[in-house]
Point group: C2
């Protein structure tokens, strides 16, 4: 049982008045009015001070004792044994809040890919339907841990049901550093991951894109598209990011599975191995680009050799990047609507406390969009 | 779209006869009767050979063309363009099979923890209710990849709806090596992970124990149990296994969150730092043992100093190991019944092809069992 469910259980046993007394005493302990070793007023005194019955103050003090914050002793009275963390106070606010906060770390240039209306609109709709407000904060201006802590303090102080993180694309230093910090501020954390995350899955709920499966789909589509003699995985540049590694791994293993080991996947890096892997038309060659942006770089390099995609060679991309719609690329389009549905379900389950003991992670495969290049 | 869903889609368009013709032709291509470049009999000839209408043979050949296995050409006829892998043939069998195979790698000494009736009975019940048979193979005698491949070939040849892997506890070399091999044999793979797995999550569906959250629960329980001045994470021996690292990380971060940084978690390794961390009674000290077996080692070492758990110090374990019931340890008991429920749901969803695009992973928190030692 985590602290949140413990607090919720304690809360469920108390009436509104008792909750108020409990929260008030907790606040006084946390703000330094009482220190470890200090004695709280008696239940009778509390009752008089707050004009409540002794019965009500008794249950509030009892809950503090169950939380290990005070110890009741016949001789010494109610003694403070530990100062709870700010987190415990914030955990209380979580139950009354009706708001989810989206922290969008994504870089401006890639925001149309990393967090767009295809996902935000259905997510907000689902949350609103359950009476939950959704607030989005674009936080690319936050550059250090101190500022990030201040932001989290601000958000959790106000009370918030859940936090959704959109990590920056590529290397997301601040976020990775702060995954453990986030844990200290909130218990209901969700990540929408576009594939950049290497952080351990056991702290946070994750909904993401299954880049591995997308690699498999790309290569299976290529192999089924007719006679294929060469498959080349084409990269824009050498980077070690997770999504690229996963797509390549999917392409390799998918090729193995589809061909029983007969088809070997070559590797080609723009600028390192040259500009374009073919000198003459080769309709039995499929280029699998690491993403649409890379595909477009290769298509342009091919055009300079008078080679045209879909005619002289085949090419497939990943991401369905709206900036390149004029190329009519066959690509894998992330199923953002389904991702929004799952994210909403996870968040609402967490707020309703359904299956609190389970941490979820799911990766959604993309949809194949057949256009002209393969 | 993965190959499985592609094949299923092709299949859904065909009648039983067409499926039979398709499978028969596929079998002949795979067994070498026709090679790449060879010409298949015409649709009329196939019809005559198999005593079916030309209409039926047409659709079977069309499906082969859609799968990129043959190319139809007015001049040359139906030419074989690629030899599909064995995997594609096995994928077909998956749709008619009504059987799930459990591959139990777990070591005999730990099988009572790693795969016991608390999980196998409810899982089998759920599967049987859906008309699916469950077969269990204990495969600790398989020591090399060649034997493992033979086993997988045997299982998939017979047709199987899904494979569930129970990895060996501790280091599971063969399994980790073979995660990618498994992928080549079957598309519906599930892991029940007791915490030993470091392999990437994007290939396989996983249901496991949330060791991190269990560490958090242990330390929160300790801190709430009264005045706590020292928390010591006690290890049996120095090992680098995932579950131990995760539990320790949970204990550390949980302590931070509950105390706002005031409580520091010490580390103690049996035999390295000594036998027992205390020389005199210290009821404000909580030992968090890495698992019940370690807890028992420490309890015995304490007894030799005339120190008794629950009285002279507090101790909490993980795993609810039935071998040590006489110690009346407070421990975190894995919620195997809930794990079985989720595993069954994932498997049945995969068989019914509900949400085929989603790869699931979930980690289930354990239940606190309060006994006498904390």
């Amino acid at each position: 049982m985590t602290i949140q469910h413990y607090i919720k259980k304690e809360f469920s046993k108390m009436n509104e008045l008792q909750k108020k007394i409990f929260s008030g005493l907790l606040h006084e302990i946390m703000t330094g009015k009482y220190r470890v070793g200090d004695t709280l007023p008696t239940e009778l005194e509390i009752g008089k001070m707050l004009q409540v019955t002794r019965h009500n103050s008794h249950y509030a003090v009892k809950a503090l004792e169950n939380a290990g914050i005070v110890m009741r002793n016949k001789k010494r009275g109610t003694v403070v044994t530990r100062i709870p963390s700010k987190f415990e106070l914030n955990s209380l606010k979580r139950f009354t809040a009706k708001k989810v906060c989206i922290l969008n770390h994504s870089h401006e240039d890639y925001r149309h890919i990393h967090w767009n209306e295809r996902i935000s609109v259905p997510l907000e709709k689902e949350l609103n339907r359950a009476g939950i407000e959704m607030e989005t904060r674009i936080i690319t201006d936050i550059k250090n841990t101190g500022d990030y802590m201040e932001l989290l303090e601000d958000i959790t102080d106000q009370g918030i049901s859940a936090i959704v993180i959109i990590p920056a694309g590529g290397v997301s230093g601040l976020f990775l550093e702060s995954a453990e910090m986030l844990f200290r501020y909130h218990e209901s954390l969700f990540i929408f991951d576009r594939g950049s995350l290497e952080c351990d899955e056991s702290i946070l709920n994750t909904v993401g894109i299954n880049d591995f499966a997308d690699g498999v789909t790309a290569v299976e589509t290529a192999i089924r598209s007719g006679t294929v003699r060469r498959i080349i995985f084409c990269m824009h540049q050498i980077t070690d990011c997770r999504w690229q590694k996963e797509r390549l791994r999917g392409v390799r293993l998918g090729a193995w599975r589809m061909s029983g080991g007969a088809v070997f996947v070559e590797n080609y890096v723009y600028g390192v191995h040259g500009e374009f892997p073919l000198n003459a038309p080769s309709p039995e060659t499929v280029l699998i680009a690491c993403h649409d942006e890379a595909a477009v770089t290769f298509i342009e390099a091919g055009k300079r050799r008078n080679l045209h995609p879909g005619k002289d060679y085949k090419i497939i991309g990943f991401g369905d990047d709206s900036r390149f719609s004029q190329y009519e690329l066959t690509t894998l389009s992330p199923n953002l609507e389904l991702i929004a549905k799952h994210l909403a379900r996870q968040i609402l389950d967490s707020i309703a406390n359904r299956e609190p003991a389970i941490l979820h992670s799911c990766r959604v495969s993309s949809k194949l969009i057949c256009r002209k290049t393969l």
